[in-house]
């Protein structure tokens, strides 16, 4: 006797779920502003360090021969 009631409830739940609206969130296409100082400052420091290392290596007398 319970089964038809359960089925009816299930059908009702499915129907309500189908009729429930889902909000679509506002679409903002974002673009972060990256700090040029931080972004370039790091690479500039790296570059300077690399250049210094290269210069130091060039100044060292070769030990191979």
């Amino acid at each position: 006797m319970d089964k038809p009631v359960k089925d009816e409830l299930l059908v009702m739940q499915e129907l309500l779920a189908e009729l429930t609206p889902e909000e679509l969130e506002p679409r903002l296409e974002l673009q972060l502003f990256l700090d040029p100082l931080t972004s370039l400052g790091a690479s500039a420091t790296d570059q300077q360090q690399q250049q210094q290392q290269q210069q130091q290596q060039q100044q060292k007398p070769s030990t191979l021969f």
């Binding site: 679509l24 673009q31 570059q47």
Partner: protein, 429 residues
């Protein structure tokens, strides 16, 4: 209690491209909010003319094998639609500009603040002017130019030692220009496909300055067009890259222009990262036809892991995905979850390092800013102000992020263990 419901005249329906599944629509309100509804919901809402009684409507639906009583229909309309402001009582005159006066829903976390800077009318004008850049005859040569200019820029050594405080002023101005053009790229794509772009503005993504283009009307477009709009910003910004690359070549490898090019690429790559809520995320969401991609991905992973340990699991509804799309979706689900976990570690390490050095670095930066102010050198003042802002913005972003993450975890735990107990009284009332 509504007996003669009427769908607000300002509402409109548009087909929703959900990736080939069942028929669905976008219900758009006058204030710009949009709701995804089923074909059946559209059918019922379309009959709400303010003259048909609810019981008449229910019996009409029952005749069409839709088993719903008048009371159930009333409950549905009152609980699900009336609070949205889309249903009116047919026995009273339509409320004057009720929907127009509603405050438009703002995007939530992690966008903390939004401020429209360029109004919709102005954006629409420029978007209309620039939409020709999407015609294939123009776009293909431009894409070739973008590739060629990249080869030129990355073959040239950037002499960062030549950059002065004044250089940073120019670089910042040019980067800002490229960002505005990025946003216009999205708007122009919307215009190209016959839509009306929204405003362009700025805001805070957590505490980091961000710019945005409102393209909410995009939900009404076919998926392919949505994907073009998502990539439109990167396309336009890369055209700016090509312009600066040509400028650098004409000006003896100008370090300012070369640096601007590299920053543009960095910003484009950041925007295309699908793990944040930027262009790449929306592109993936549109490709997979899953509007709430991150939430759905988390639910899928939770369901899969519960199934693996033999516990009952509720899997979220997904559109039909091919083999490749499934691989992309599962990769995203795992990567985004791993990223969320990694964020905890990143936040900890970032916070500990920046907060520890802040007492040492902040007074120096403050002294330098004061010295710049006394010197009256505009370039120095600008550079030092930027330094001070970002010195605090980054650790504060991490702090706010840590707080919000913790709050979310606490909410989840409370909901998991005490949710039913807390919800019980409200259900009863």
């Amino acid at each position: 209690m509504i007996d003669y419901p009427r769908l607000s005249a300002s509402c409109s329906f548009h087909p929703f491209d959900n990736g080939g599944g069942r028929e669905e629509y976008v219900l758009a309100t006058a204030d710009g909010r949009q709701f995804r509804v089923s074909a059946l919901a559209r059918q019922i809402l379309g009959r709400l003319d303010g003259e048909t009684r609810l019981d008449q409507l229910a019996s009409q639906l029952s005749e069409e094998s839709i088993p719903i009583t008048a009371d159930q229909l009333r409950t549905l309309l009152e609980e699900k639609y009336s609070r949205l402001g889309v249903i009116e009582d047919g026995t009273s005159p339509p409320p004057e500009s009720e929907l127009g006066n509603r405050v438009r829903r703002r995007p939530g976390f992690p966008i903390l603040l939004t401020l429209n800077v360029v109004p919709q009318r102005v954006v629409g004008f420029f978007a209309g002017l620039l939409r020709f850049l999407y015609s294939p005859a123009i776009a293909l040569p431009l894409l070739a130019l973008i590739v060629w200019s990249h080869l030129g820029v990355y073959r040239t050594q950037l002499d960062a030692a030549r950059l002065t405080p004044e250089s940073y002023l120019w670089i910042t101005a040019w980067c800002l220009l490229s960002i505005v053009i990025h946003e216009l790229g999205h708007a122009a794509a919307v215009s190209r496909f016959g839509g009306q772009p929204g405003a362009i503005g700025c805001g805070l993504y957590l505490l980091l300055p961000t710019f945005y283009a409102d393209v909410s009307q995009l939900w009404r477009f076919p998926r392919r067009q949505r994907m073009v709009v998502d990539l439109g910003g990167a396309y336009f910004q890369e055209i700016v890259f090509a312009g600066f690359a040509l400028g650098a070549m004409a000006n003896g490898s100008s370090p300012e222009m070369l640096a601007t090019c590299r920053l543009i690429d960095l910003m484009v790559l950041t925007a295309l990262n699908p793990l944040f809520h930027f262009d790449g995320y929306w592109f993936l969401a549109d490709y997979l036809a899953i509007p709430k991609l991150q939430k759905t991905a988390l639910q899928t992973l939770r369901g899969v892991s519960r199934k693996l340990v033999g516990r009952p699991a509720v899997m979220p509804g997904l559109p039909k995905l091919g083999r490749f799309a499934t691989a992309v979706y599962m990769s995203y689900a795992m990567l985004s979850t791993a990223f969320m976990a990694a964020i905890v570690w990143l936040l900890y390490s970032h916070l500990s390092s920046t907060l520890l050095r802040l007492p040492r670095v902040a007074p120096q930066a403050w002294a330098q800013a004061l010295a710049a102010l006394h010197s009256g050198d505009l370039a120095q003042i600008f550079v030092q102000s930027m330094t001070l802002f970002f010195l605090f913005a980054f650790p504060l972003t991490a702090l706010v992020g840590a707080y919000l993450l913790l709050a979310r975890c606490v909410r989840l735990v409370i909901d998991r263990f005490f949710g039913s107990a807390l919800r019980a009284p409200s259900q009863g009332g």
